[in-house]
Amino acid sequence: MDVKRVAILGVLLVLLIILIVVFFKSGGKEKIKQPPPAPRPELQSQPKESGQTKKIVLLFLSEEDDLLHPEEREIIADSSVVRQASQTIEELIKGSEKGYLSPFPPETKLRQLFITKEGVAYVDFSKELTEKHPSGSSAEILTVYSIVNSLTQNFNSIKKVFILVDGGEKETLGGHIDLTRPFLPQYSLIAD
């Protein structure tokens, strides 16, 4: 009788421990698993064997004027618009091959990029974008529109661009230009 009881108790105890472990494990998992804000693109685009490329236009700054200057670049074409847009921003951050000025602090990185059904591209940069930015209206305007125009010009499905910093909304880029609203492109800033 006693042995039986102990055995049953033992089995129950083991079951309880297993239940507790399973419960906490799954509970923990749920805490870690945050609702994904959007499909997170792979930042490192793996070159595929097919190797199809697409020509895009990046917009850089010049020492000569306050306009955005186009420079062609090739990106991998056989991927989603999100991945192509990410590549575009990464190429933009890498800088010009023709000696144009970069509109980014060199330490800036792209954290993530996603596009909503309404055609708003959310581009999330590392905090260096604002922390290391020289500030000043002209500098901020050109940084913003090099991003915005480079995206809207190459991808028809992108109508507006929302700039995020370090995963969240920032009030301004460097004290001037409003980052709390999505930007429409400003084609008048592009040099011919």
Partner: protein, 368 residues
């Protein structure tokens, strides 16, 4: 359909918000404005808040395929403008009272003082309040207070020059000089958004202007560029990003009460419940562009800096300001030559003088 009314510093606004576009005609009939709407749809009309001294009530008459909305105003002496915006569809009608009291506006200072003593008065009263008793050359309609905003401040230093000059220092120096010149020559009240090296949020700057019923808002900045040799001065007014969405937000959260007016000058920013006029500036784009043009002309004349013209950009500080508002980029602090200029007292005085002249021309234009 929702009907609402609200007073702004120099006009009163009626807004019809509808879930579909309206085909309308307007007809003035003594102190009423009749809005004839033709529609196949039946709709429910709902009176929303009427927060206006001038617009007294809404009424309506329904016929087969048409409605007539009646807007009753305080008196028949008014003119009106109207425009529509989308998402949601809104018919906006602005009422401006005409001076029925020509005699009063040219009257003596005593009378001006009496009205000054009264807290509440109709927003477009053309009397300039003036404690010093100086006669303002042009008594611009509705403009009593000018708000000058020295860019940046406190921990937020703005752009920096090669010699270490900080944008926040120059903007304050120029703003203080401008305040002095305006007060010596014009009868307007001048309010600075900061008068020392202080952190003031961009929203609070706009709120301060709105709480003080500013007639003009001038934000002073020094520019900075990635280009080493960028130079010159330019004047900005707000560009609306994603206009369709902003129109929807035009209705603002109102939280004003007469007590605020007394508190504001004590600098207790945090205690002031802000009047949040989100995107209020969108109603003033045209006047702001004119103000920018006039100021830029004077800057070019007096400074001899390169003319970079007037431009539009989405400046955070301008979005909530409910009056004509511009942002002046005096010169480039990132250009060592101009940084030296900006540090120079005489140059700072010239800048203040140029902006002052621009203000006078603008006010003259608007008081005609």
């Amino acid at each position: 359909m929702k009907l609402s009314a609200k007073d702004y510093p120099d006009f009163s606004r009626a807004i019809f918000t509808s879930s579909f576009p309206l085909s309308y005609t307007l007809e003035k009939s003594s102190s009423f404005l009749l809005v004839h709407l033709e529609t196949k749809f039946r709709f429910r009309i709902q009176r929303d808040a009427i927060e206006s001294d001038f617009i007294k009530s809404f009424g309506w008459i329904k016929r087969n395929d048409s409605y007539t909305i009646t807007i009753e105003t305080k008196h028949s002496n008014f003119k009106f403008d109207h425009f529509v915006q989308n998402n949601p569809y809104q018919l906006v009608i602005d009422f401006r009272q005409l001076e029925e009291k020509k005699i009063e506006s040219q009257s003596s200072l005593e009378e001006a003082k009496v009205t000054d003593g009264k807290k509440k008065e109709t927003p477009s009263q053309p009397v300039v309040s003036n404690p010093q008793g100086r006669q303002s050359p042009p008594a611009a309609k509705g403009i009593k207070t000018i708000v000058i905003d020295p860019g940046h401040g406190g921990l937020e230093a703005g752009a920096k020059g090669k010699f270490g000059t900080m944008e926040k220092e120059i903007t304050l120096a120029i703003s203080l000089k401008l305040k002095g010149i305006v007060e010596r020559n014009l009868a307007f009240r001048v309010v600075l958004t900061r008068d020392k090296d202080l952190d003031v949020s961009l929203e609070n700057r706009a709120a301060l202007a709105n709480n003080n019923r500013a007639g003009l808002f001038i934000s002073i900045h020094t520019n900075s560029s990635y280009r080493k040799n960028a130079q010159g001065s330019e004047t900005f007014f707000l560009s609306l990003n994603a206009t369709d969405e902003e129109a929807r937000k035009l209705a603002y959260l109102e939280n004003s009460s007469p007590e605020f007016e007394g508190q504001i000058e004590k600098g207790s920013e945090d205690e002031i419940k802000m009047i949040l006029w989100d995107m209020a500036q969108s109603a003033y784009i045209k006047q702001s562009s004119q103000l920018a043009e006039i100021l830029q002309k004077e800057l070019n004349l007096l400074l001899g800096t390169m003319n970079r013209g007037i431009k539009q950009a989405p400046f955070k500080v301008l979005t909530g300001v409910a009056c004509p508002a511009v942002l002046v980029e005096v010169a480039f602090i990132s250009n060592p030559e101009e940084e030296k200029d900006l540090l120079n007292e005489a140059f700072q005085n010239d800048v203040a003088q140029a902006i002052y002249r621009g203000l006078v021309s603008y006010i003259k234009l608007y008081s005609q």
